[in-house]
């Protein structure tokens, strides 16, 4: 057994394999398939102050090596989250990070505050990068000042681990990254989905009711790697990678490029056991390559001959 533990500043994960928000429910949905406690951590589906029904049907479409979604942050709202989901999540031994979204700048901190009063979780992921909502979401995450303010207000209500999830749909992701770092983020999650679209040529309608949606899956892995490379080079806080990770080679690619942990998203739909399998595969990879601690390979990209 290699040492798979990774330390992201104030928080440690037993291994770098987390699950990505919105692709793993609150974990419970995956209990039939795997032992959640083997994972490094779970990131929950986005929680907002009010319950949200989400966007109209149809919400998903498949593309080449990818998928589009326009779920639109459907969730039961923070109060029911606390009542119905928190007890289960508190029983887990793996890390649990709550993904938090909001329509207004203040809503993010408010959601965190309520969860904190209910005992809190291991950390929070600030989702300023959802492309599927009209108010808030990506509109916040493309603006460094707004990102800064949301981060600062969230920082005021919790001492827990705080990661800000960045959108790739910007001219300069490093500018947003630095705004989050300077305002108290402990880490950055890179990246959320790319804005994409598909058309059904028979009906001549967009395949999503919202016209455009968020592109995820292996198709976006090269973009995610480039963004992780750029962000890791621009900030001092750790980076958590998300985007197209399907197998252990992908995990290693992101770690080498500078990510301290990774999130498994779309792959959970393709193989609901994949996140746990990746922990095992990572261990085997380390054994095979005589890597004692997974931290040895983080950020080891070789740039010159």
């Amino acid at each position: 057994m290699a040492n798979l533990q990774v330390s992201l500043g104030k928080i440690q994960f037993s291994n770098p394999i987390l699950t990505a928000s919105g692709t793993f429910g609150t974990g419970e949905e995956f209990s039939p398939f795997l032992d959640l406690n083997h994972l490094g951590g779970i990131v929950t589906k986005a929680v907002t102050r009010e319950p949200r029904a989400g966007n109209p049907h149809p919400r998903i479409a498949e593309t080449s090596a990818g998928m589009l979604n326009s779920i639109g942050l459907a969730n039961v709202g923070v109060d029911r989250f606390i009542a119905e989901k928190l007890p289960f999540l508190k029983g887990l031994k793996c890390r649990v990070i709550v993904n938090v979204a909001g329509k207004t700048i203040d809503e993010f901190a408010e959601v965190i505050r309520r969860i904190e009063s209910a005992g809190g979780m291991d950390g929070y992921e600030i989702n300023v990068s959802c492309p599927n909502v009209k108010e808030g979401g990506m509109a916040f995450g493309t603006n460094p000042d707004v990102t800064a303010e949301i981060t600062k207000k969230a920082r005021q209500v919790t001492d827990k681990f705080l990661t800000v999830k960045l959108t790739p749909n910007v001219t300069s992701i490093t500018e947003i990254a630095i705004a989050a770092e300077n305002n108290g983020a402990d880490a950055l999650t890179v990246i959320n989905t790319l804005v994409g679209m598909a058309v059904d040529i028979r009906s001549r309608k967009p395949k999503l009711a919202t016209i455009t949606g968020g592109l995820s899956g292996p198709a976006i892995k090269p973009v995610a790697l480039a963004k992780v490379f750029q962000v890791a080079g621009a900030v001092k806080i750790p980076v958590i990678a998300s985007g197209g990770i399907m197998n252990v080679k992908d995990v290693i690619e992101f770690l080498i490029t500078g990510a301290s942990a990774v999130q498994i998203g779309t792959a959970n739909f393709v193989n609901p056991k994949i996140s746990e399998k990746l922990v095992d595969d990572l261990d085997s990879y380390c054994e095979e390559h005589q890597i004692n601690s997974i931290e040895e390979i983080i950020g080891t990209l070789k740039l010159n001959d």
């Binding site: 039939p32 398939f33 049907h57 998903i60 979604n69 779920i71 193989n271 609901p272 056991k273």
Partner: protein, 270 residues
């Protein structure tokens, strides 16, 4: 609808025992997997990884079409339309097949006094055949109304001989049975049935389901319908398979709240 009481959803590997061509583009695959054969209920489905590669990326859902618990296999019936079904059609006998299931809720069986009427449009026959199998096992008879674009798929009717079914066929072009759509046929024949205590079970394309919804509402008939939507996970995690509630209060999720719904409770999309 009956809630799924057997909570054991599995990521399973079955083996392909046999593959049949019903017509040129309608195929049937027999999959060996004892637990699924034993515990699956009519209306439930499985979510198949049709190819090892990234193309297609997502699983594809298929209704359980028939089971043989004694021999430990079940079957699916599908039309070859795109990447996923093409890949499925190419799988060889004896090869492994990777699926998640059984998924979703199931049809509520009628009580003994009720008369079951099955209404299928095209491949909508898939889950209804499994229902007919259960009804036959329970020594219940049923009427099947099956509509298709042409008579082609009806070579399939010999499959029904083992079932306790009275069949009525409709084709768009009148090449077999009634000429016109299956709901019109149902409307005509139902008068003859002279029996108000009926329970309709339906599966088919949305235009058919909408017509049926209107008909059932007008006649105040109970109708359970199995829906299809795009799906990613199949077990309630992705929130991708929403259908609008009839009362506008939000959404059901087809993979979890369905695929079987009371036709009164849902809005049926174009």
């Amino acid at each position: 609808m009956r809630a799924n009481t057997d909570t054991t959803i599995r990521l399973a590997t079955g083996k392909i025992l046999a593959a049949f061509s019903v017509t040129e583009d309608i195929k049937k695959i027999r999959i060996s997997h004892r637990q699924t054969a034993e515990c699956a209920l009519p209306g439930q489905f499985i979510n198949i990884k049709t190819s090892d590669s990234l193309f297609p990326l997502l699983r594809r859902p298929f209704s359980i079409n028939r089971t043989n618990p004694a021999q430990g296999w079940f079957e699916i019936l599908f039309r070859v339309v795109g990447a996923g079904t093409n890949a499925l059609a190419q799988l060889k006998i004896d090869s492994d097949i990777d699926f998640v299931g059984p998924l979703g809720n199931s049809f509520s069986l009628p009580d003994k006094s009720q008369n079951s009427v099955l209404v299928a449009g095209g491949l909508g026959i898939a889950p209804l055949e499994f229902l007919a199998q259960k009804l036959t096992e329970e020594k219940l008879s049923a009427h099947l109304f099956w509509g298709n674009q042409s008579s082609e798929a009806f070579s399939y009717q010999k499959q029904f001989s083992r079932l306790n079914l009275k069949t009525f066929f409709a084709t768009d072009d009148g090449s077999l049975g009634f000429r016109g759509n299956v709901v019109t046929l149902l409307e005509r024949e139902l008068a003859a049935l002279k029996d108000e205590n009926i329970c309709i079970y339906a599966c088919g394309p949305n235009p058919m389901l909408r017509a049926l919804q209107n008909f059932a509402a007008a006649k105040n008939l109970t109708c359970q319908v199995s829906l299809e939507t795009m799906m990613a996970c199949g077990f309630g995690a992705c929130m991708g398979c929403n259908v609008e509630k009839a009362d506008g209060s939000g959404y059901f999720y087809v993979c979890q709240d369905g695929p079987v719904f009371d036709i009164k409770e849902i809005r049926i999309y174009g």
